[in-house]
């Protein structure tokens, strides 16, 4: 089934932090076909300013009820406008987008690792993987206890949850990747799925390469069209030479990539 543009009714708003909101919308045309890792392009106004749609990842889907949830942080005027939407309003959504999705089918012991607001697209993945009988260990890293989000939610969809803060003010003390490393060394992990800030993703990729464990990452990039037309959100193919670099679109070939395929 192809991507669609719909006017999705906003059915629930949850404010998770002062600047982080969860929207639940009725979007059966999208939930019927969307897969973990895919994203949405949301239009925040019917005017031409702000101009572009906002790419936002899918957090959770209730496929039976056709309810789609996404979480976003208010970063600029677009996301700020979005917060003015009220329950009952329509939201203009294009989706699902992205051909690069999380694929855990070949593995049994999954490590899902997220940092900060990068944890959002990992929830649907963890939920689906657990449903499919996989052994899911989730590692969530936050700056400090004020930034901790979705602990209970991830607990419910993980066989084991390791929550860490950089300063130790909540959960374990240190970077989440340190705990992932221990578990890899103890033979508990056979594949890794990551989303978060670039330094974290780079560290996870390095660890995966060092330990020879397959790893997928979900990348974020400024987008024009969000569907592979403008080729604006490009990322370099790692194997292409530096003097003649080749690129693929994050929106179309991604946003989820095998970590070794792209350079980030």
């Amino acid at each position: 089934m192809p991507k669609v543009q719909i006017q999705a009714k906003l059915v629930q708003v949850n404010q998770l932090k002062h600047d982080i909101f969860k929207f639940s919308v009725a979007a059966k045309e999208i939930t019927d076909q969307a897969k973990p890792g895919q994203f949405l392009e949301i239009r925040v106004t019917d005017q031409v300013e702000p101009f572009l749609r906002r790419p936002i990842s899918i957090y959770n889907m209730d496929k039976e009820k056709g309810i789609l949830e996404f979480i976003f942080q208010v970063k600029g005027k677009g996301t700020k406008l979005l917060t003015q939407k009220q329950v009952g309003d329509d939201i203009d959504i294009v989706g699902p987008l992205g051909f690069g999705i999380f694929d855990y089918s070949k593995y049994q012991n999954l490590a899902i690792i997220g940092g900060g607001i990068g944890v959002f697209p990992l929830y649907e993945l963890a939920k689906e993987a657990k449903k499919d009988g996989k052994n899911v260990t989730t590692y969530l890293g936050y700056r400090n206890k004020d930034f901790v989000l979705l602990e209970k939610e991830f607990e419910q969809v993980s066989d084991e949850l390791c929550l860490a803060t950089d300063d130790g003010s909540y959960g374990k003390n240190g970077f989440a990747i340190n705990f992932l490393k221990e578990d890899i060394e103890n033979g508990k992990i056979d594949s890794i799925y990551a989303c978060g800030p670039l330094p974290m993703l780079r560290a996870v990729k390095a660890l995966a390469v060092e330990k020879n464990i397959p790893c997928q990452v979900s990348l974020e990039e400024k987008m024009g069209c969000g569907m592979g037309v403008c080729v604006g959100c490009s990322v370099k193919i790692a194997s292409s030479p530096a003097e003649n670099p080749e690129y693929v679109g994050v929106c179309k070939a991604g946003p989820v990539f095998d970590a070794t395929y792209v350079e980030f």
């Binding site: 543009q5 300013e49 024009g224 069209c225 037309v229 403008c230 959100c233 490009s234 670099p245």
Partner: protein, 302 residues
């Protein structure tokens, strides 16, 4: 009501086309609607050999628009002919290939190949601001435009449209270069050279430092230039720059455009092009006009 226009020998079922670089080769938008609803698809800028494009970041948003510096990333004409053309041909729409090159020889070689393909016309890209060689380097003088156009004209029997850059002082004079070189039509405008700076890092947001500005922000500039071109040449003009609805399209047509293109308006609403067709119909109905051709160039200057 007649919406059909004869654009330089290309019979468009309606005057709405989609602009190069904002519609790929049509596949992505075919999920949303039958491409036969629009007059023509103007393809992504296509070169003789595949091009990888510029270093990211390549796009950023600005007030009522965006800046891009893609650098003509495309799979090359051979790939187009093999994979994209057969796909596009399934639809009842015209196919115009946007052709780009870095030298006159390259433009000529490319157009020789395009001449042998089942396409309806060629749009010569003399206006991309994001590549070091070719394109805008030819497009900013009368002589440059005339030279490339006449070289291509010798090998191309199909309708030849020349796409102009607005980054010049005398757009009308440059349009004449295309006409004198043997072009069948002009399209205008490409993007305006622009820059956005991140005030925290003090660096330009785009890796290429500069890029091309498009979107509603440039529409008034585009309307003015289309008016100037239409009054300077006898060949028809394809108007574009910031069109997002039927009213915008009508404005360009009144200024002198015989057909129009939707550019990054496709990004904000995938249905912008068919909605623009409906918007034009609505305007004609409201004003009791039977033929869309009757509004072309009908602006009444003060």
């Amino acid at each position: 009501m007649n919406l059909e226009v004869d654009f330089a020998g290309i019979k468009l079922k309606n005057p709405v086309t989609v602009a190069s670089g904002t519609f790929g080769y049509g596949r992505e938008y075919s999920d949303f609607y039958d491409l036969g609803k629009i007059g023509a698809v103007i393809t992504k800028g296509t070169s003789l050999k595949p091009k990888n494009g510029n270093k990211p970041s390549r796009v950023c948003e600005t007030a009522a628009g965006m800046i891009n510096s893609i650098g003509l990333q495309n799979p090359g004409v051979e790939y187009f002919a093999k994979y994209d053309l057969p796909f596009l041909r399934k639809y009842d729409t015209k196919i115009i290939v946007n052709a780009c090159g870095s030298s006159i020889d390259e433009y000529v070689e490319l157009c020789k190949i395009l001449n042998g393909l089942d396409i309806d016309g060629v749009e010569l890209n003399l206006s991309c601001p994001n590549v070091k060689e070719g394109c805008m380097a030819f497009g900013n003088t009368y002589e440059g435009v005339k030279e490339v156009t006449s070289a291509v004209r010798k090998v191309l029997d199909k309708p030849l449209i020349v796409k102009l850059t607005p980054n010049v002082t005398d757009i009308a004079g440059i349009a004449k270069g295309a006409e004198d070189g043997g072009a069948d039509a002009i399209s205008a405008i490409n993007t305006l050279l622009a820059m956005k700076i991140d005030i925290e890092t003090r660096k330009p947001v785009l890796a290429n430092n500069t890029g091309g500005l498009s979107g509603p922000a440039i529409k008034p500039v585009a309307v003015r230039m289309v008016y100037q071109i239409a009054n300077a040449v006898k060949i028809p003009v394809m108007g574009l720059g910031g069109i997002t609805n039927g009213e915008d399209a009508i404005e360009f047509m009144l200024a002198g455009a015989k057909a129009i293109s939707i550019g990054c308006g496709n990004f904000i609403d995938p249905y912008t092009a068919p909605k623009t067709v409906a918007g034009i119909e609505k305007y004609l109905e409201k004003h009791n006009i039977d033929d869309v051709n009757d509004i072309v160039g009908k602006v009444q200057m003060n």
